[in-house]
Subunit: 477 residues, 2 copies
Amino acid sequence: MRDSKLLGSIREAIEAAGLKDGDTISFHHSFREGDLAVGQVMEAIRSLGIKGLRFAPSAVVNLANFSLADCVRDGTINRVEASGIRGELGDGLLDGSIVLPQPAILRPHGARPRAMEARELTVDVAFIVASAADERGNCTGQIGANPCGSLGYSFVDARLAKKVVIITDTLVPYPCCPASIGQRYVDYVVEVEQIGDPAKIGAGAARLTKNPRDLAIAQQVADVIAACSLFREGFSFQTGAGAISIACTKFLSQRMAEQRVTASFALGGITAAIIDMYDAGQIRTVECSQSFDAVAAGAILSRPGVVEIDNADYAGACGKGIFLDRLNFGVLGALEVDVSFNVNILTGASGRMMGGLGGGPDVAVGADVSIVALPIVRGRIPSVVERVEARCTPGDTVACVVTQAGVALNPRHRSYPMLREDLAKSGIRLASIEELCALAYSITGRPQPMTYTGRPVVKVEYRDGTILDVLQSHTVE
Amino acid sequence: MRDSKLLGSIREAIEAAGLKDGDTISFHHSFREGDLAVGQVMEAIRSLGIKGLRFAPSAVVNLANFSLADCVRDGTINRVEASGIRGELGDGLLDGSIVLPQPAILRPHGARPRAMEARELTVDVAFIVASAADERGNCTGQIGANPCGSLGYSFVDARLAKKVVIITDTLVPYPCCPASIGQRYVDYVVEVEQIGDPAKIGAGAARLTKNPRDLAIAQQVADVIAACSLFREGFSFQTGAGAISIACTKFLSQRMAEQRVTASFALGGITAAIIDMYDAGQIRTVECSQSFDAVAAGAILSRPGVVEIDNADYAGACGKGIFLDRLNFGVLGALEVDVSFNVNILTGASGRMMGGLGGGPDVAVGADVSIVALPIVRGRIPSVVERVEARCTPGDTVACVVTQAGVALNPRHRSYPMLREDLAKSGIRLASIEELCALAYSITGRPQPMTYTGRPVVKVEYRDGTILDVLQSHTVE
């Protein structure tokens, strides 16, 4: 094993790795909609005539110049397992226009390492995109022409996949430093023209909002956090990448400055707003499993307290402890929440696939105070409902729901006595979840139940592998 | 697993980990003779009456205030596996005064991860000393009251031991940053008064020399390296921690400055001399599996190109590639070398255990040019001999032997044609290994063969698990 691992093309790497019909392939989604590598790999696989693959990336995002749906249609892919399936493929599965022989499996971020370590998901070839690599496979997302930041999702693939192919557009002299993934795990290295566009990492899920309603909700979330007795020197938080969540980070920073409180750590998907707080001395360490924009992607290299962490260390459902175990506040986006506090982060009333599980179910169970932030209605569609269409996060793990019309505490959540006491003093407007639901329905009318009576098309797995829900296609057969 | 893992004492941790008779325990030896934790753990084990343990640290060093030999004598330890067994215990095994039911097993650094991954060596409880840790087990050797630097030897224990106990004298607020070993691997954390003395890391194997003969040999080694065609921009080297090796680093730095050559990486056990070269811009990256002195221990934190690496990434005998695969020059200390270039780094003519295998056998096979540096005689004892007393590194993996009386190239080594050509131009005095042996014998007389006819007491394993040699006790039974 003294020779270079560098091969001339993705096609050569696929052949060298011995990929064959029926195998499982994986990718990380750190470039999100800016990814340019998944399409190149799938084109090469298709050109080799390999069929019937299980496609098991950390998440399926909507690729600008490539149709994954076509890979299902032509039989290149016949199984899908990921944290979410955005775009044409997810929509097609739900509306029945794209058919998989077996339901797709969606797992939250913390469940993927568990499923892989339990060998429920075995990856034959992991294609890991890295913004810099040497010819022996030491690689990182932190330097190079197109940095994507943390490679946290891929560490488990590097450890456990049978073959590991590094795809880079910046080949550096040996040894690549920093090395997020080491040569010990890498079989082949391929250089391509461009792996992705860092400017587009912030597109899709990770975007800022100017919507006044969303800003009001974000402010309310910050007020709830600031009212809590857990909001004290050395507290910890994760605000995530939803539109409201990112805005919330800014308001939280203000509250922290006002009350002269600093955080011991911020966790998970990291944005420029979090890096600003680190630079201002408001956060001691930033534990970064994903970089949600180009600023966050570049921050790990230059700031000693901004560190890249393994997704399994962030959220993993097995092992002896994760960062989520010590999280005080977690802010979660949602499409719907129901009167039992169950959360839907996948499907909209439109019938389209509107989001992915991400780390939401993990953060909910990990955080002392898990906060679902959402407007009570979106357009003419209620967000607080009697029963969610897709149960992604069990209601018992949600501490409260923050809307523009009030904050509903979950009486069944372990933090309820503390939260009730803390918020009573704050002047924050409390409401029962049933009141919020009634208010929503008073605006939109009671929604017609969506009766999905088609085939099961998506299984929603929980952290421990149990099935939380099965989504059916809209098509009645 | 949300609670603190902090326990009140080492004894509590031993009980919590369920250590029982016949189990295997491990430690790292990064504090070398400055270690203060192994003794505390063994005292606690002894106080609990646990017997028949397999003692499997990365290396057994001579502890100042604790007798490991006594732990064998009283049956607390009845098996020993390590890279070396210095001091009273090793000497006692060889002279027959300390008896183990089975021979001790010595493995070079690269073989330990292999043996553990192959489950030939399974560790029940790993006691990992860290200079800073939080109460959930995130820990490092880089900060705290008594830094020891790289924890590279312990990563494999953290990954594979059934229970992992972190022992620290500096408990830091959660989350410990940097975190060399993550909470995911840690069961318990114990705070003690002092884990070790960084000032003593440089004692024992890692020491500087003022001996003019050793300095002359070190200079000769640097001359050999500088004469090689592989000595060019971007070359790589490992000089190690032997007395001659450390001096060699200084001379190599001079040659590099004279010829305006910089190195892509330095590898392995790192000394202050290497850090000086990094600071001077002579080395781009320092891949640090062990910190050989307090300066090197502190360098990882403050210098982005000085990085802590897993011993398995340095030298591991399994996996898809290691840093040693790309090493140009490796300088190796030795007690004896024979006319077949076999190297003895364990036993002296005194019958005492004079050294450990360390990474020597790994570096020999990895480096393009593996250089054994030693004087032809030490006192009245020849160092170049007909047949080594203990075969630790196979002669085929040694490129050349550098002595004060000349340099012997190994005609069977793969680098021989290149070295012969390179050195022919250099004016360096070449000699055959037989000539060096004859010269040594002309000074000392032909040594009496040491006929060990006692029990087998030490098995010397090679990287792949084969037995290279079996050392017998001096005692005839």
